[in-house]
Symmetry: C2
Amino acid sequence: METPGQPKAQSFEQRIPEGDDRLRRVCQDCGFVDYENPKVVVGSVATWGDKILLCRRAIAPRIGYWTLPAGYLEIHESAVDGACREAWEEARAELEIDQLLGVYSIPRISQIQLIYRARLVTPDVSAGPETQELDLFDWADIPWDDIAFPSVHWALNDFDAVRGMTGFAPRGNPAGETGAM
Amino acid sequence: METPGQPKAQSFEQRIPEGDDRLRRVCQDCGFVDYENPKVVVGSVATWGDKILLCRRAIAPRIGYWTLPAGYLEIHESAVDGACREAWEEARAELEIDQLLGVYSIPRISQIQLIYRARLVTPDVSAGPETQELDLFDWADIPWDDIAFPSVHWALNDFDAVRGMTGFAPRGNPAGETGAM
Ligand SMILES: [Zn+2]
Ligand SMILES: [Zn+2]
């Protein structure tokens, strides 16, 4: 008997389903086709005055490293709502979204990241369950050597590049960079 | 015996998997958790001179209605590459991407649409398998009454709103519009 929550060992095979033109993961037990899709990450570079909110990760991957409040968009959620939800979940932060700062593609892991520039409504932030600690950093104090992901570097540098600008085109991956770690 | 390509009848139930905090579709046969994710649609408003490329859909939904070259981002694909691939698949069109025109959220169907402003490299376009016919339209001749989806209206109107502008912030859903049809 199968215990709920205990999936059997992997029984997927790679196969081209009827009417499709690509290999997909198909369950050999029940025929379920796992149409893998790219995932959308939504997040923010959120500021209070000149200070930037960063969170130290309490979860894998990259536990203990610093990141922006960001995470997977949920179903039935708009991109802006998702960025606000993630800021609340990870930093108990309330955001006022300014504009889209960057659209980053990380093809190796099939991620599209939408990172917004935002202002904190209040400086009262505190660590949510996925965050060890957090802080509002002056630019000069950002812990560059302990940043969790390349795209966090990109977003921070892009934030700096558009400082004082409004109505700018969102930035993309730095030339030649794919986000591989 | 199970015939390949013939999935059994639906055997998913809604349940909160171990370590999760939301209802997910879980297969009752094998325990597979279907982490539904929002889908990313990539596309373009592509022009040759002042003319805009539109395609008449040869597939459901909205067969026979006019749309922009757009479709689901594939795994391991960047957003810009996906927009170019879709233009090729649907219109045999080669694009030079200009900049991100709009980011539209359609929460009801969990879609994020990234629509780029682009130029055709040549005016030699022709219908791909998912397209009945296509044409390069002057603005005044766009078949507004036969447009496939609300977001096609949005992207066309946004294209018009930023005519002659460079380095603009991408547009979003018109105020209050969710894309429900
Ligand atoms: Zn199965
Ligand atoms: Zn199953």
